[in-house]
Symmetry: C2
Subunit: 463 residues, 2 copies
């Protein structure tokens, strides 16, 4: 069991600052933690006013709880925190999450209080997440120890320095029906850092993909070594804020520490096998690629389309990235021709023209997925606003082909601005596959899969 398992699978939790006032975070966290049937932890509510909250009796102090408490969540104003910390030390808790703001991120005095807290907890062998954070979640196990909503369950685990970034990212993940395994908002990270959580996620069987948003990395060398340790096992995606002086200065007034040199960090993280994304679109694209798709066995790309423009823009990216479109073999051409009208040229990208329907998408996608000379299939579509076509028929054809080939090869469905169509969203959610909305996105998804394959191959060949 990991050294910090008590944060994510605590036997018992005390919420210090629990309240029935809906305007307070202490209420939101209480409601969240009590909302899940699956949670195995015993919960204790601590409130300085004696009261019943949601049917649970409350304790004036954590000291009044008779059994051991593993995890304490602090939701009291900053000025009360040092006193509460002493009570937690007395109680011998294993971990503390300090949600409260008003520490190092606002002034020097706050930084000093942080230092005192760290010193006292270190002496007592207690680990601390925060302060100034929204909390953590272990979705499959039903732990929502945060004041944000519980996301849908899935295989992605996130570490974010900024709470608001984490919240926004979870919104977008939900839009793309990407699910969450673990969520950690580090806040001012006075003790628990990216490295600790990375170690935990590395060994977490519910985590397939790890994503990070960081503004400040305290110890670059050790972070790099940790990345190198994790990436052979799981893909790690990093988005870095505070890349510039102006961004650093904004970061400084926000989570209370200075950002490090971006270029050096970026090179080191890339060297360590992680993917560094420059913006949120690429970040979500990478999540979609790694969460939903298998890695390819090779680099030969087959493209089909009903939309010339999208294939042109996609092909531009392939050349920019130095990738090759597969040459169609004579036998594949014969196979394809059976399903296509005579206006269609049998070249890659295969432009089947706007009239291509579900059956053609099915047959052509399947022919490419079954072809030994093609490793990745990119199926481009613009939903034709004419001839009474169903908006999800192309996707239906593509999915049928993918399922019948056991989803062995990565399939990249590019639906140009397809989020205008509810039916596409419903179908892709039901069938658990990603949709990519512009050529740039489909091209980057292809790139991320190939790069990950290359990275894993390089490890094999050097071992």
């Amino acid at each position: 069991m990991s050294k910090i398992d008590f944060f994510f699978n605590p036997k018992s939790v005390a919420i210090i600052g629990a309240t029935s006032n809906p305007k307070k975070f202490g209420n939101t966290v209480t409601a969240n933690i009590l909302s899940n049937n699956n949670l195995k932890s015993e919960i204790f509510l601590i409130s300085n006013r004696s009261q019943i909250i949601r049917g649970l009796r409350t304790y004036k102090s954590i000291s009044d709880v008779k059994i051991d408490v593993e995890l304490a969540i602090l939701l009291v104003p900053a000025s009360y925190v040092p006193k509460i910390i002493e009570e937690c030390i007395q109680k011998r808790v294993k971990g503390i999450i300090i949600n409260s703001a008003g520490f190092g991120e606002i002034n020097e005095e706050g930084k000093k209080i942080e230092q005192k807290i760290v010193k006292r907890c270190k002496e007592a062998g207690i680990r601390v997440i925060g302060p100034n954070c929204v909390g953590i979640q272990n979705v499959p196990n039903g732990l929502n120890a945060s004041f944000i909503q519980t996301p849908p369950q899935g295989n992605i685990s996130m570490i974010t320095q900024s709470g608001s970034f984490g919240v926004a990212c979870l919104y977008e993940m939900r839009q793309n029906h990407l699910g969450c395994a673990k969520f950690t908002n580090l806040g001012n990270q006075i003790d628990i850092s990216f490295n600790n959580i990375l170690s935990f996620y590395k060994n977490d069987t519910q985590t397939k993909v790890i994503c990070i948003y960081s503004e400040t990395i305290a110890n670059g060398k050790s972070f790099y070594n940790k990345i190198r340790e994790v990436t052979p096992i799981k893909p790690v995606i990093v988005l870095k804020g505070g890349r510039t002086k102006m961004g650093m200065s904004a970061a400084n007034s926000h989570t209370g520490s200075m950002a490090s040199n971006y270029k050096i960090m970026k090179a080191a993280i890339h060297q360590g096998g992680a993917l560094v994304c420059e913006n949120m679109y690429d970040y979500i694209t990478a999540l979609k690629a790694y969460s939903f798709l298998p890695l390819p066995d090779g680099e030969k790309i087959g493209v089909l389309t009903n939309s010339g423009g999208s294939a042109v823009l996609f092909s531009d990216y392939m050349e920019k990235f130095g990738f090759q479109l597969a040459d169609f073999s004579p036998s594949l051409k014969i196979n394809l021709q059976k399903h296509l009208i005579s206006l269609v040229k049998l070249v890659n990208p295969l432009d089947m023209i706007a009239g291509a329907n579900e059956e053609q998408y099915y047959q052509v996608t399947k022919a490419m997925l079954e072809d030994d000379n093609i490793d990745i299939v990119v199926a481009c579509t613009v939903i034709p606003p004419f001839l009474d076509m169903k908006s999800d028929e192309h996707l239906n054809g593509i999915i049928k082909a993918w399922n019948e080939t056991q989803r062995k090869k990565p399939l990249i469905p590019l639906f140009l601005f397809g989020h205008a169509f509810e039916a596409l969203k419903v179908l892709s959610e039901k069938e658990k596959l990603p949709l990519f909305m512009i050529p740039r996105e489909a091209a980057h998804a292809t790139k991320y899969l190939i790069e990950r394959m290359r990275f894993l191959n390089s490890l094999e060949s050097s071992s």
Copy 2:
């Protein structure tokens, strides 16, 4: 009146290849053109089978129509087109749109037929759009001479070489409640080119913003001169497909001509005052900025936020672009302080922390919009998933402030992945303002506005 006004405001139109078969484009175009109450043109349906379609009698040939026909739309198979062209010449139409595919984009024989058509029409003084195109639209005047749906009305006019790109772009414009004035799909552009349509849009009072998707530019020098002529009057946004050999080769099999050298073209177009976008996200971002927002009077940027991470990422872009965040004046600080909690540092970006509500967004946005030292206001928000906040309250506050200052300054609302919230979409559509979804997008909108202002200023100072 423009030389090609008969395409967009024809007194009379013949649809050649009209049919009541819903599986044929001839039916879709007929339905589209007859669907709008506002259309002032007289419509004639030409069908080789004598029949009644949608209550209109049909003619066997355009020659049978007794009055003058200005515009002919050809929806017959490619092999019939040359014969129909001769009939149109006899009838002395002014313009022809050839929707039919199967010409230069498929083979050499098709190219030869194109050349014959051009020669014959040139001799007769007839202008041709297409072939291989979805058609054109004049939305405010009710003309849908295409087989695609009619988009909402607005101030953007599009020229696209690829029909599918145009369709996808219209989908996304609708998602962002961006409206369309004119739409032109050039297809193989054997006669009417970007330049002709640019001239027309330049003088069109219903067009505020012009956007272009091109794969091939026949005459670079003349295109550049045309761009230079239009950009002092209206912003022109260009997305280029076929930037690479691989993309060119895809373009070649799609609209039948070779793409030109991207770098040279990009530099020339930029020099001419147009905006060249590298991907569809940036392209839509530019449309949102120019269609909805006024230009700034200066370059001083004020940022407010409830979300540290978004302000950090936004600030990174500002430094990358070489822009300055405004220094808050002492009087502005005094004004701001009245509305904020004490944890908030009075620096730019102003991080009001997650609890900031509608009233604070209203007061702070208004204070910045009214401040002489701020030219552009960027309001960042992550919708807090706690404390029972309404998802549209921040936007309500921002809009109120913008409206009360007569929308004189550009306001950039950044709602981190806000498209998860229906209420935001409804409100922004009703109030006619754009939403930007990630820091990159808000930063690029800021950049596009400043660059346009600089360009117009440079014209003034050199004249």
